[in-house]
């Protein structure tokens, strides 16, 4: 049993006696998502996996989109191979734009992701959108090749909303911008 299974099982036991299955899943999803505001947290990975586990029956529209490599609102979207945070497309922005009233961080961490549609690898920059409280929608964490924070630019343990004029350091959501074809 993984730690996530344990977490969900523990939560499920306490809720199962007093809720329907549908509201149980909703409550559990809300709890896990709510516990994960900062990008790049182990708990974020858990919440993301929980959404996958819950599968159909989840009242959250995200679940219906899981597994779509070409859907920017899906955690499985090909560009999200190293993302950790709330997907800006679910928060009023898109995979390459920030929601109204926020500001895109100038610096960030990058991943190299494979696009199955054209068979090419791309360098993807996960610029955070900053200056408002955490969005709380479409949490996604995929932690492959994550490095410790002494190697900052491949580390998802930083809040990259730092040093910018308006933001500094309130985190809202994350984008996944294509920078170039990887060489």
């Amino acid at each position: 049993m993984t730690w996530l299974d344990g977490l969900t099982e523990q939560s499920a036991r306490s809720l199962a006696k007093r809720t329907s299955r549908r509201s149980l899943l909703a409550s559990l999803g809300a709890m896990l998502v709510g516990a994960s505001a900062l990008p790049l947290l182990p708990i974020a990975r858990g919440a993301s996996a929980a959404e996958n586990k819950a599968g159909t029956g989840q009242p959250d529209s995200r679940s219906a989109k899981q597994g779509k490599l070409d859907d920017p609102m899906s955690c499985d979207y090909w560009r999200h191979c190293a993302i950790d945070g709330y997907l800006c497309g679910c928060c009023g922005g898109s995979q390459n734009s920030c929601p109204p009233g926020t500001e895109m961080s100038a610096v960030t961490w990058v991943g190299t992701c494979h696009n199955p549609a054209d068979g090419k690898d791309y360098v993807v920059s996960y610029n955070d959108c900053c200056g408002k409280s955490t969005c709380g929608r479409c949490l996604c964490n995929r932690n492959e090749r994550d490095t410790p924070i002494y190697m900052p630019f491949e580390s998802n343990d930083y809040n990259w909303c730092s040093g910018s004029s308006k933001a500094n350091v309130a985190y809202h959501c994350s984008t996944a911008r294509i920078v170039s074809v990887a060489r």
């Binding site: 709510g34 505001a37 858990g46 955490t134 994550d146 002494y150």
Partner: protein, 404 residues
């Protein structure tokens, strides 16, 4: 209760049941009634107004500060004090946005807390401060304004540390330019900033020295002047293999050695001697067979140590390399002299953060960011003692007296 539920109605006890009551029971009932009447007659005294608890000076080595980032509401960081012996919640500090952890003064009288605030909640002017709290009353007694550069990252003990004599507080900055803010804890004043370009976090090595880890696997060895300014700063040769098996940032210290652990479970002891920083021989937490079974260290505060027992504690789980931050259901205990594993502790709940008190009868504390239940164990026997529920929202680091 005498009586029963049937068809949704409470029915009175039947006479036959009443007849079954013993004489002894009847006497007891009569006595209870008499007592109730006499109690009713007494008048309770008025309670005094404005009574506020304080904590005994010096506290207890079994007190633990549970630090909480409060991810869903990051402006509301806090640290909560719990007595490991009784399980009592003793009090809390409110510590602002993107909180990492409190730092305890060596005399136990003051709590130092690097904090960030905005003038309008999540916007407006950002102000970073070190707040000093009176440890007996948990009230703010002083505030030192520092450059608004404090790193916002997953909380780590090495975000802020005191020098070995407790004089200077060192705080890691990331804007993403990297530096260390130095605060004089004695005069309660900002000293200045030390550039650490390419190097992160703070690991004290003496009363006037610390190192940071650089992105190329070298260490930045910094010596401070008597006033807390950089007296010298030099890079070592390559210490860590960052390309193939990096160490995590979550090291623990025993005497003059910092113990780092790599993603694959190798221990890298970094010692400070007269000749500077040196890597002692590395050694594995895992046998080949355990490695083949994908056992791996993980967690947010994944290591703990006890200097007196000379033991190292490591949270363990099974999973591939990308699970290097995951919690575990076991803590493995090692003798630091022989490198032998001396115990496996089966944890009651998922463990992401552990801390061992440094006294002669040490406790092992355990918590996980995805839960808010603090578990307490006997650190020597590994026996589970108790759990304390509802400790914050997303608890991160456990802080007790003694080195990280």
């Amino acid at each position: 209760m005498n009586g029963s539920f049937k068809d949704g109605k409470l029915r009175p006890p039947r006479l036959a049941d009443q007849n079954k009551m013993s004489v002894r029971t009847r006497i007891a009932s009569a006595l209870a009634l008499t007592l109730a009447l006499s109690t009713h007659a007494a008048t309770l005294p008025s309670d005094p107004m404005s009574v506020v608890q304080s904590l005994p000076p010096g506290g207890s080595p079994h007190w633990v500060w549970v630090n909480d980032f409060v991810f869903p509401h990051m402006t509301e960081g806090k640290a909560m004090l719990v007595d490991g012996d009784s399980g009592r919640f003793l009090g809390e500090l409110d510590t602002g946005f993107g909180f990492s952890r409190v730092v305890l003064s060596h005399d136990g009288k003051v709590i130092l807390s690097p904090e960030t605030y905005f003038s309008r909640g999540t916007r407006g002017v950002r102000t970073d401060v070190v707040t000093l709290y009176d440890a007996a009353h948990l009230t703010a007694i002083a505030e030192i304004i520092i450059p608004p550069k404090r790193s916002s990252n997953m909380p780590m003990m090495a975000d802020a540390e005191l020098t070995d004599d407790g004089r200077f507080l060192l705080i890691y900055n990331f804007t993403p330019a990297q530096s260390i803010t130095v605060v004089d804890a004695r005069s309660r004043a900002l000293v200045g900033e030390i550039e650490t370009a390419g190097c992160a976090l703070v690991y004290p090595t003496g009363p006037r020295s610390f190192f940071s880890i650089c992105g190329d696997g070298k260490l930045l060895d910094v010596r401070l002047s008597s006033t807390g300014h950089a007296a010298s700063s030099r890079r070592t040769g390559r210490i860590f293999d960052v390309a193939t098996d990096p160490v995590t940032e979550k090291a623990v210290r025993v005497a003059n050695t910092w113990y780092f652990v790599s993603f694959s479970g190798m221990i890298y002891p970094v010692t400070k001697g007269d000749a500077g920083l040196k890597l002692a021989p590395t050694w594995p937490l895992l046998t080949a067979a355990e490695k083949a079974q994908n056992w791996r260290p993980g967690g947010l505060q994944q290591l703990a140590a006890h200097a007196g027992l000379n033991r190292l504690y490591s949270i363990m789980h099974q999973g591939p390399i990308e699970t290097h931050k995951d919690p575990g259901k076991e803590v493995w205990v090692y003798d630091l002299a022989s490198h032998e594993r001396v115990k496996k502790i089966a944890m009651k709940n998922d463990s992401g953060s552990i801390r061992v008190t440094q006294d002669a009868h040490p406790l092992l504390f355990s918590i996980f960011i995805g839960s808010n239940v603090l578990d307490v164990y006997d650190a020597t026997s590994g026996d589970y003692l108790r759990s304390v529920d509802s400790i914050g929202t997303t608890p991160t680091l456990l802080v007790t007296a003694g080195p990280s």
